[in-house]
Amino acid sequence: MKGLERIRKAEFLQERETVLTSWPTGKEVDLREAITYQKKIPESKRFSLAMEEAKKTRTLLTQPRAGVALPEEHIRLLKYLETEGEADLLPTTIDAYTRQNRYTEAQEGIEKSLAAGKSLLNGFPAVNHGVKVCRQVTEAVARPVQVRHGTPDARLLAEITLAGGFTSFEGGGISYNIPYAKKVPLEQSLKYWKYVDALVGYYEEEGVRINREPFGPLTGTLVPPCISHVVGILEGLFALAQGVKSITLGYGQGGNLIQDVAAVRTLRQLAEEYFTSEGFTDYHLTIVFHQWMGGFPEDEAKAFAVIGWGTVAAVFSGAEKVIVKSPHEAFGIPTKEANAEGLRATRQLIHMLTDQSMPESAELARESELIREEVKAILDRVWNLGEGNWETGTIRAFQSGVLDVPFAPSLFNLGKILPARDNDGYIRILQPGNVPLGKKILDYHRERLEERAKVEGRPVNFQMVTDDIYAISKGHLVGRPRSNLGPKFRAHREVKERSV
């Protein structure tokens, strides 16, 4: 249990004073009053209950991303997604200035948006708007609402939004730092998120359950399942340690159906195993699947196909929730109409797949076993590096590159790992950097990549990685070289199909 000690209450309450005075709206938070307020929120709007019900009934819930600068416009947007988009769960996506605690810039964004008559911010600046306005937002809709962001220091944001009636809070000390910041030391963000989890733990003790959701997809760019699983499991442990009881771990679609289904299944199993072996039993675990997080095609028809494929994987993986993309993804923030279209397309597929399931197969079993072995290898090393302390181990693992997130902006991420797709579109590891996967596993990854290289008539190299990153936006899954791929590639497929 080392590295998983609960923050001391006196220490926590003292830290609160500093947090709440860091911006004027912090003064609006009265924890006692906030708990009373949260207790009056109807059950139908409590996020944790919706997730529990989804697990019980094996239902896949839909949730969009959405947030604009001004309250009235934001409420209109959420209501539209609720009615026209048929969303089961609602978001409030926070703007990028607030995510970096730049409340002065956020204020400027609000004012410029007012002047322009449209949102110039990429999300809802909840801290600037304060508790009362957050309550107007959460009260205006019938569905549970979650705060979605990307904030290394989300302490004030959590205080204001939980007091503001939100019943779920996304993020974590690793997943909202490494892919979302440049200069924030990991030690620091882990400490900030310990506070957020402790705040949720505090609400829990007072009888108010808040759902917590570590951010699974990380950089959303060819992240091997083992990397995001390790981060999710660690953040799950850190949250449980502070008294969080409702936890949703995430995974971002890779694109190969077998790998995606194997990933979600193993994430659930492994999380249960690690949580229980650390002595946590009294918690509720669910899984969220993110539709493709990388670059999208500009053509809306093609974008719908990507959305559909993500939905297929989400349903077959058995996740409880799917985060839905829109046909405007290639252009950035969608209109409310485009956002609702993504939701409805997803809804249609979910219904059509309800009675179907994916058959067990040797390939599915092989991929599941591979992910399990990889996760265990990395977590064993984290544990050793921390000399039995998960938090220290996490910090040391990032320092040494034992934990390494591909393409992350953080200076505290080694950035030596390089992924690429194999010939069947599975995400494999091209260069492991210092991630300790062992010879047998790495040889397998290499073999699969060499197989692709042979088919494409080029060496395994960085060009492959670049081609893969842009492949889906250009209409493919695997980034084939531009010249000379046709006949050779097809011949290979035929041989392969015959041999199965």
Partner: protein
């Protein structure tokens, strides 16, 4: 001919402006422009106007290439050219590219806005990088010839 004394096609400062942490494209641009023979000073993500300009002054760069993916480009890029003028690099080549505004907007509108702000060239997210490299080489050549 160039009088800058280096054999590269030119020195460029690269970065993602404001509080934007989209790092993937930035890493790819670095590799690409290096391979094309430019000397790249990559500042990574979350770069302020002054950090771009500091780096350009320190390295006597020919061009600054600004990326923005998260939609706040309009706010973050405001006054960039004026700031360059203030800091004494009024003739530096300024490029900007990415998802520059919130929401789907016709590119011609976006281009006009940023050109009015003093950017020499404006690119959509799906631009062909080969084309950018070609234009950049041409612009750097013209700038050096005009200057000397």
């Amino acid at each position: 001919m160039s009088s800058s004394g280096n054999t590269s096609k030119g020195k460029i400062v690269l970065g993602v402006i404001g509080y934007d942490c989209h790092s993937v494209g930035n890493k790819i641009l670095e590799v690409f422009f290096n391979e094309k023979g430019f000397q790249v000073i990559n500042l990574g993500v979350m770069v302020s106007q002054d950090e771009f300009i500091d780096a350009a002054i320190e390295t006597a760069a020919d061009a600054i290439l600004v990326s923005s993916l998260y939609g706040h480009g309009l706010i973050d890029c405001q006054g960039f050219r004026d700031r360059c003028v203030e800091r004494g690099i009024e003739d530096i080549i300024l490029y900007v590219g990415g998802n520059l505004v919130v929401g789907k907007t016709p590119f011609s509108e976006v281009e006009e806005k940023f050109k009015r702000m003093g950017f020499d060239r404006v690119f959509p997210p799906d631009v062909d990088l080969e084309e950018v490299a070609r234009l950049l080489e041409q612009d750097i050549h013209a700038r050096r010839n005009g200057k000397h």
